[in-house]
Symmetry: C3
Subunit: 343 residues, 3 copies
């Protein structure tokens, strides 16, 4: 495929500086781009590298100037990049139609243009809306519902009663609807299983990475709000509720019954204890541990998680502890009787 | 199903306050319960919410009084909840019999009432006791043994020579018996694989979550004791030994050859280094890292993990470091010659 | 199988002290070894235990003397152990030939002595070199290439366009080539998916544990260098590059576009932020978080990761903070006007 810079600028609502007739035939990273390709700098931080690229054109933030090669200035370079990439590099899906080895239970409703890959197993009373794509070796339990246009990758397990919305993407190896981790301790020290009888509900346009585990509720629902994006190897326990557009980076764990507001971001390897409430737009830094409720719009870090500004102040002093110790020793020398034997 | 409160009280060995003839037709959480349902408060902490529930009855701890609606007082409300939930909300298992697409190796012994789901593959010389339930797409290697009544969910991989006891539950995507992570470093900086020739043994009534990985031993056994409960995305390395009734919460990693006593609890994202011994009933707080042996009955936290009481004292001082710094500065001002140039 | 100690010493290029005619018929750990077996002590730390073993012979580091039983002294006891274990305890692979239930796409090239297990699905234009072993329920997408002698365990998903070298081992449940976690935030707070159009390239002799997730690049490659060893439940994001012989222990996460040099070691539960560069032979301690570039040959720890020597010094002072606080209080008592109301 070939497109002029002018055509690309229209697609991304951008403004060209330089030759609008340059012909672009692909997209690549700043380092790997060759002549004829377009690349991008998401922020000023990446501009220096972008100035040295071999690409024929660069997508840049508004206000960027003085480039030796043609640029497209846009408000949101990442979004523009996504759209250009979509244009040039769409991967076709692998299967089509319903494979003869797919096993389909009783009373299953299947919409138009549904794809069901080989060795996929579908339980009873399941509903697949139009354009649902199930790859190979997918398992759907009984009474599962999947909305229009959703894509389920190989080896995903979706257990009984799970409800999945439209345009949801679930990557390989992920498990939705496994039992929550709930036990009652008995007097002899052993644990008695609490039946996990609730379900998982996933709203529209959610994307879930590879080898994630989202548990069903004990009673009621584990709920993933519209537009949430969940990275690989994330654990979401029973009865957790995520608001809209929540971002959860890899290896995060969220314990039972916790609630996250809209727009929350949990960075990699963060954890959230059970029964806490995190307000809208809270950002939790990597490796942090949230142990209590957090009001909206905070940026927290550390374990226990607190305001990042406080955390930074304390971390700065910690880094100067060797110096602080010296200062105390000096004071002790200057003051008679200050030094005692046990130092 | 409908039960009177009196019938439920008998089931949970509880004492009714209020109308024993109330008819209950379901179980729900305190927030979501409707008239006709029963709910529960596991501890005093949840009593306030329970007082406002729409449920028709509440299971409460002994000693709770003055409820506006009928209550069942029990010694162990979680256990009572589990038993009532079991009564009302049993989920039937999906498959029955041996599916014609199941592939069964040579010299396999299959007990009574065994279920083998579609596309499940079973290696040679494997033994399945009575009432074993294998769901769809399960893989069992050669010489695997599974005890009576155990349930294996979809897409679980159980590799060669694994021994699994009775009433074990293993959730989807979990891998039992993958090779331990053992290599010998060679002089050229590359690594030489140490064959992993041992096995995994899992005792009775163990439950293992989704997408867990438990490695086989290099030589000998990786051993999971009776009644252990393991949450999602847990890593258990080669030659680890867990005692009885050990609780391991999500995203925990236990390194090679470490040994945990009976009743140990590892909270979420904790880690244990290799070759350490953790005594009976030790509790390891979330995100902690155990780096050396821990005597029985300790509550440890932090990294390196130490007694939680010490950890708390130190954390409290860390939180006051900005104040401490001020006090040192004040002392320096009061004492002639205390301030030196490099501060 | 039976071997004399002399034969074993030749195999491992070792020197015998004691009776070279002792007959060995197996390998076991120091604790579990019985008469007739050989065991080993990798370092001086394990020598005391080794002296008490019931084994008939022990492999020990050079320089070890005064053993009550025959020993083989070697330069690299782990390597010697690996080779002896290989000799005594080779596990045969389970399947042979191409199973009739294997589904093979169009234009697939299959070398000599390839094994394809039951219910394995192989996409179009895929190439399997000689002696590739695919177990049961493996999924390979389109245009996947797998080099000679590589072994893929059950339920592994290898998505479109992945390139895998020779003698690679991938354990069960692992996902290679899932979409990278890339989104552009829109003005309404929702996220727009950035297509992930690159691929994953894995060089020769890499071993990857169970339930790992390695994402494809946005554009270009996610690259795993020759000889890397990756433990269970590791997350490797889009566009990450690992050099040669990198060791990544369980539950580590590496964020997008970060680059690790040759010989790097990341201990368990460590994390690396995006776009950083870690130099050759850097060691990152367990649970550390790397937030910026690290020059070669450093040993770093903590979060943010810094030189381990500095980290240790600071940790030591932190442990003495209660004492430090006492010393400040004493100084304040000794100096008039030092104590202010707000303490």
């Amino acid at each position: 495929m070939k497109k002029s810079l002018e055509e690309l600028a229209k697609l991304v609502h951008g403004r060209i500086e330089g030759n609008k007739d340059v012909i672009i035939c692909g997209v690549a990273s700043v380092e790997e781009a060759e002549e004829g390709e377009i690349t991008f700098a998401v922020s000023d931080k990446f501009l220096n590298k972008a100035r040295k690229t071999r690409a024929s054109a660069v997508i840049v933030p508004l206000g960027v100037k003085d480039f030796s090669k043609p640029i497209i200035q846009v408000k949101n370079p990442r979004l523009a990049f996504a759209k250009v990439l979509e244009l040039f590099a769409s991967r076709p899906q692998g299967f089509s139609g319903i494979h003869p080895t797919a096993l389909i239970g009783k009373d299953v409703k299947i919409g138009k243009d549904v794809v069901i890959g080989p060795y996929t197993v579908i339980g009873n009373e399941t509903k697949l809306s139009d354009k649902v794509y199930l790859s190979a070796g997918v398992y759907l339990g009984n009474r599962v519902t999947i909305g229009e246009g959703s894509v389920i990758h190989p080896h995903v397990s979706i257990l009984d009663d799970t409800i999945i919305g439209k345009k949801v993407i679930i990557h390989s190896g992920t498990v939705i609807g496994s039992d929550g981790f709930g036990f009652a301790k008995k007097e002899d020290g052993s644990y008695y299983k609490i039946p996990q009888t609730g379900r998982v509900v996933i709203e529209d346009e959610v994307e879930i990475g590879a080898n994630v585990a989202i548990d069903r509720a004990t009673v009621g629902e584990t709920h993933i709000g519209e537009g949430c994006k969940i990275d690989n190897l994330v654990h979401i326990a029973h009865n957790v509720t995520l608001g809209k557009n929540v971002i959860i980076v890899a290896l995060v764990g969220i314990s039972g019954s916790s609630t996250l507001g809209n727009g929350v971001i949990l960075a990699g390897q963060a954890g959230v204890t059970d029964h806490v409430k995190i307000g809208d737009n809270v950002i939790v830094a990597a490796k942090s541990g949230v142990t209590k409720d957090i009001p909206p719009n905070r940026f927290v870090s550390g374990f226990p998680a607190r305001l990042h500004s406080e955390q930074k102040r304390i971390k700065a002093i910690i880094n100067h502890l060797p110096d602080l110790l010296k200062r105390i020793k000096k004071l002790e020398k200057l003051i008679p009787n200050a030094v005692t034997k046990n130092h």
